[in-house]
Symmetry: C3
Subunit: 237 residues, 3 copies
Amino acid sequence: MVDNNSNRIDPSAIIASTAKILGKVAIDRNVVVHDFVTLYPNVNIGANVEIFEGAVLGKPPTGTKALARRFSPELKSTDVGKDSIISPHCVIYADVRIGEGTLVGDNASIREQCRIGKYCLISRNVTINYNTIIGDFTKVFENTVITGNMVIGSRVFIGALVATTNDNNLGRRGYDESFIAGPIIEDNVGIGSGANILPGVRLGAGCMVGAGAVVTKDVPPKTLVMGIPARVVRDLE
Amino acid sequence: MVDNNSNRIDPSAIIASTAKILGKVAIDRNVVVHDFVTLYPNVNIGANVEIFEGAVLGKPPTGTKALARRFSPELKSTDVGKDSIISPHCVIYADVRIGEGTLVGDNASIREQCRIGKYCLISRNVTINYNTIIGDFTKVFENTVITGNMVIGSRVFIGALVATTNDNNLGRRGYDESFIAGPIIEDNVGIGSGANILPGVRLGAGCMVGAGAVVTKDVPPKTLVMGIPARVVRDLE
Amino acid sequence: MVDNNSNRIDPSAIIASTAKILGKVAIDRNVVVHDFVTLYPNVNIGANVEIFEGAVLGKPPTGTKALARRFSPELKSTDVGKDSIISPHCVIYADVRIGEGTLVGDNASIREQCRIGKYCLISRNVTINYNTIIGDFTKVFENTVITGNMVIGSRVFIGALVATTNDNNLGRRGYDESFIAGPIIEDNVGIGSGANILPGVRLGAGCMVGAGAVVTKDVPPKTLVMGIPARVVRDLE
């Protein structure tokens, strides 16, 4: 399965016999690749990373006529920083960067051109859509959907089942980045479970969003918002 | 793994050596079947279809005593139309029809006896439950749950994390199709992320449902509804 | 793949040639293990159980510095009761007990130290987090997130896309079990789809929670609550 001539695989790495390596990859020391993993070409795995069963890394995006958005023609490598963990059945697309010490949970998907920081948690069944940037020490809990073109800061906490969207037109105007704008989430923001963050909204640094809130407009820094639509309830010290 | 005597596999098809074909299937020209895919008997794959790692197609449903609903005794073939894409780890049950040019995203499940139209998008972690019909050009975004016995029209947009349900009794009366009624969604409807569509509700053609709304009764065509419970806010064009 | 010297595998069991058994396991009569399944050491499978493609059982939890909570040092066996079904791509962690006749749906994750009763349904994309106890005949529908340290009774119905949480501080105070408290759900409770159950809340026996409700405080037994925040609407007979 592994052609050592075209790959750089440290001899200390343990790669299951059933794992498939489909092209040139680089695998650093003490990496463990478990059964039924697929590595597409141009994947670089840092030291001590563990990749669990059925995970797929470096997969190029594939479109049909059903998709409004066109793909970028040039895709760079997929890099996983040292000490990170990729859980079973994750799908990490091509041209993704994941910082060191980050945990990606079971069945999570990270789409092309995303940049995830260090020591993050991307939990189970989370989707991080295309071209989204996430800072360091940020946590995204189970089944949350992060839309495309988002910018998320550091030390952000996003609870379970949170929805984020980038299209107020529900697809009626096609895909044009002039009006497709994901929310912007600044550093140290906390978002309760089941909240809903609408397109283009900015969540100011250190603000908190209550569970189940629907955030329709910008939230000032260091305030607590709650309700539908979300309103400022009080300032946070 | 592939017994060409009992199958009709076009010689232009590329089938990974690790893929498992468990019975008689038909695979048309230029199909690509990636690693660790399982095809159960009675699966028909149209031209140019690509099936990614770990996907399972044609799996018969399996029940336990924990399930209220009984399965139909007769299951037909599972047919995937030409130019469609089946993403990693999808589970497509037996007796499903998927139209041409449709994209089924990572980890999506489509249960038995569903009919999905052409050029649809069924995104990541979406479940389409049993016996549901979906028209053409319809999009269902991430982590949305489509309940059983639904009818969904064409050019419908269903945002992420939308809940649909078919049982007002929360399971207290067992499973009887006389009162198990999924919502009906007519053509050109748009549903915002995190909305919640209750049993038996009809969403009229061209209506729009705001993000986070809980829809408890029928929505007239070409109106916008918002809130909990959802009320008409205004007419559309 | 299977070393019969160190395992107790009933001769009537059918184990796919691609399945991986990574250590000592016990497999009872008439069990079926499908392709690409991984069984970690110390897994015990009861009679008539069927385990579908890509499922992973007995996986030890793995942490990074990104995780606040430390793992328990001692993990016991993973036991699946007779007549249960484990669907494709499920991940069942180490030290989990699943009662007889329980169905675990596609892509579901059950974390370490959980105890699931008999004749339960744990549906697609559901996460049951660490150290949670669930009674018998309980159903948890698609994409619902069950947080850690929860106690859930018998004959409970939890709809789709329900959020439960155990940390009112959104991670700001680190992980300390003195204030990390999951909700408690007593017997015969029904929870509508999309509801949101906040930390430490107790749902009294036989109460019902409306779809989309946000439950911020205890609910008396045999009452119906609805809305945001949830309020008692009426008593149930």
